[in-house]
Amino acid sequence: MKSMSLLDELYKEIILRHYKLPRNYGSLETANVRVMGDNPSCGDQIELQVQTDGERIADLRFRGQGCAISQASASLMTDLVKGKTWEQALALEKQFKAMVVDGAAPTPELGELAALSGVHKLAARVKCATLAWNALEQAAQEARAQGKAPSKAGC
């Protein structure tokens, strides 16, 4: 039998807490960018509603259904990027993906998201952790297209 440690490592208290009591969950009346993200192979879905002031992510909410990993990742992501500039948010996305996709050590900037570093060891679950972040990137593209976020040049 494999040890329980991987399970403990994956489903830390903070992950399960964000899964069952997600932060920034629901809809945002003041949102001016809305995107849907999904993982067709497993059926997980997330809707991201973002209020951007042209420079910063002033506020955001998510809604969706999915596993503990995808929901906790979304909850933690929204907490982290709220108030950040788009540039800062996308830099965090890079750091997060480096951690769960490539197995890089978590950066201090990722804060509590470091709790998801164990996902890297389970190839089948990486896409759960990145779902919300892919939606964030999609929102950035949408915001740029509408002139509600700085264009990529200069990033």
Binding site: M1, K2, S3, M4, L6, L7, L10, Y11, L16, Y19, K20, S41, C42, G43, D44, Q65, G66, C67, A68, I69, L122, A124, R125, C128
Partner: protein, 414 residues
């Protein structure tokens, strides 16, 4: 062959010894046979032997080896025909059930359906028996209706007569649900379909591997199944079609092997089944599948079905009695195969499956390519444990014990 002769001595534990992968992973509790089965030594050996001893172009060469390879391929066709009670010229080798259903959709469907025509499916279909018909409807203007799924996991057949109007030209129904394990009364549906002159198609992906079968007695026109779910190789499957229907159909794919005569600007076509087998076929895989069928026949399909019924009933009883937090789906009774879908409280299916994997229990989690069915069940995803000939009672015990530990792990969050 070294198959067990006296069935009294056949046990799943002994059968397990015929499977190299299971011997290599003695602690593995493999409960995902509904997705794909493991392969016995004799099948792996038959594929290997074909390449070592017989490999040649089939139906092409004038040399001895080619004749022998062709004979091995046609022998495989005869074995498959006998297995399901069909004639050999009615067996079309395809890649899998999906391709078989697409073949019917693209040949019969595109040619015979038009605006106002209706296709009758069910709410428990696998995407392989939904999407090909969506594509046909987009091109022909035909419409889809579905027999509803009832709360007990069975089809609500009281609606059948209302649904089966004369506009219905084709009925396509899954024989055994890949999610719920429900065995649908296909013969009864086929009879009703015939009464309105509709073509009857059966998705047999989850029935052919598990139960005795006589496609003619079912009253179907087409029956589709995959080799890899019944101990055979990947990349090989069967579409059975009633010959009278097959000979009216235009080809599916064009190319070598399916022609009678070819000119630069036109061609005429071979008779079925060759008409539907363009290009070099999966010969080694067909030979492997025939060996898988022989292996299953040595166990006896009655035994296979009985074994799975017993495992399902044992597993359901233990789940009911010992794990009240587990909610299972699907009918209770003899019309249910060895497939058990469930959820553990409010814990998502993927998390339960990942946790079970830590105890070497391999299950599938998700929508199992049946999103409409899950919408009806009211859950986004389920965990599915599925059994086969090599599944032992000990496997079920270890699954239950692992599930109890998973329950313990998530206890504050269920």
């Amino acid at each position: 062959m070294s198959y067990p002769v006296d069935m009294a001595f056949v046990t799943p534990r002994a059968i397990r010894q015929d499977f190299p992968l299971l011997k290599r992973h003695p602690k593995l509790v493999y409960l995902n046979s509904a997705a794909t089965s493991q392969k016995p030594e004799v099948v792996i050996e038959a594929v290997s032997r074909y390449y070592r001893e017989l490999n040649a172009s089939v139906h092409r060469g004038a040399y001895t080896l080619s004749t022998q390879a062709s004979e091995a391929y046609e022998q495989a066709r005869r074995t498959l025909a006998r297995f399901i009670g069909a004639d050999e010229q009615e067996i079309i080798f395809v890649r899998n059930t999906t391709e078989a259903l697409n073949l019917v959709a693209y040949t019969w469907g595109l040619r015979n359906l038009g605006p106002g025509d209706e296709i009758l499916l069910t709410e428990m279909e696998h995407h392989a028996n939904l999407v090909p018909w969506h594509l046909v409807c987009e091109r022909t203007g035909a419409r889809i209706k579905a027999i509803p799924l009832g709360p007990d996991g069975r089809l609500e057949l009281e609606h059948l007569n209302t649904l089966l109007t004369e506009r219905v030209r084709l009925v396509s129904v899954v024989h055994v649900s890949n999610v719920l394990g429900t065995v649908n009364p296909v013969a009864q549906i086929a009879q009703a379909a015939k009464a309105v002159g509709a073509l009857m198609v059966v998705d047999g992906a989850q029935s052919a591997p598990h139960m005795p079968l006589d496609v003619r007695a079912l009253g179907a026109d087409f029956y589709a199944f995959s080799g890899h779910k019944m101990l055979g190789p990947t990349g090989i499957g069967v579409l059975w079609g009633r010959y009278e229907v097959l000979e009216t159909l235009a080809p599916f794919l064009g190319g070598g092997g399916m022609i009678r005569e070819v000119f630069v600007d036109r061609s005429t076509y071979a008779l079925p089944p060759q008409r539907f087998e363009a290009g070099t076929p999966a010969v080694a895989e067909a030979v492997g599948l025939a060996k898988a069928v022989e292996y299953l026949q040595s166990l006896g399909m009655d035994w296979v079905w009985q074994h799975e019924l017993e495992l399902a009933s044992y597993a359901l009883k233990r789940l009911d009695e010992e794990l009240p937090e587990v909610r299972t789906f699907g009918p209770r009774g003899p019309d249910r195969s060895g497939v058990i879908p469930f959820v553990l409280g409010g814990i998502h299916a993927h998390d339960v499956a990942t946790a079970l994997d830590q105890y070497n229990v391999a299950v599938r989690a998700g929508h199992h390519c049946a999103q409409p069915l899950h919408r009806k069940l009211g859950v986004p995803a389920t965990v599915r444990a599925s059994f086969y000939v090599y599944t032992t009672t000990e496997d079920v015990d270890r699954f239950i014990e692992a599930l109890k530990r998973v329950r313990e792990f998530f206890k504050d969050w269920i």
